[in-house]
Symmetry: C2
Subunit: 82 residues, 2 copies
């Protein structure tokens, strides 16, 4: 069993309103040293596979078919052996 940690983030060129709102809220709390906030998704998949390569392939298919919108988002996959 492998665990795939998928990070999905908005591309740098895309405005991130959730991040902007969070940044504003942190400033209201007095945390003025925080200069930028961007918010993405962390998706953890438990994958039944023989090899790490196979697990990565399955995670990549999940990303392209469902988890990430490649027009607006980038994703990275990190595989851990459980």
């Amino acid at each position: 069993m492998y665990k795939a940690k998928v990070n999905v983030t908005l591309r740098k060129s895309i405005l991130d309103p959730k991040g902007k709102a969070t940044h504003h809220a942190l400033q209201n709390l007095g945390l003025n040293d925080v200069k930028e906030v961007r918010i993405g998704k962390l998706i953890e998949l438990d994958i039944e596979a023989e090899t790490e390569d196979e697990a990565r392939k399955i995670a990549d298919t999940a990303c392209t078919q469902l988890l990430a919108n490649e027009v607006m988002e980038d994703y990275t996959i990190q595989i851990e052996n459980n």
Copy 2:
């Protein structure tokens, strides 16, 4: 300038309906080797600080005061020097 990568995940004991829905959607796509899905948040903070310790302290304050609900969620902070 430091970059703090904050992962906020639901505690294991808390039901994750978004994850369940995603799991179901992946099964409908034929990805039956995915056995569990859990969804969390990835928050990237750009922090102006003198030292890594100071940056971590600011990120930790942001988590406890705003970003994570410690009753239901766990968080991890990873600091990178930019």
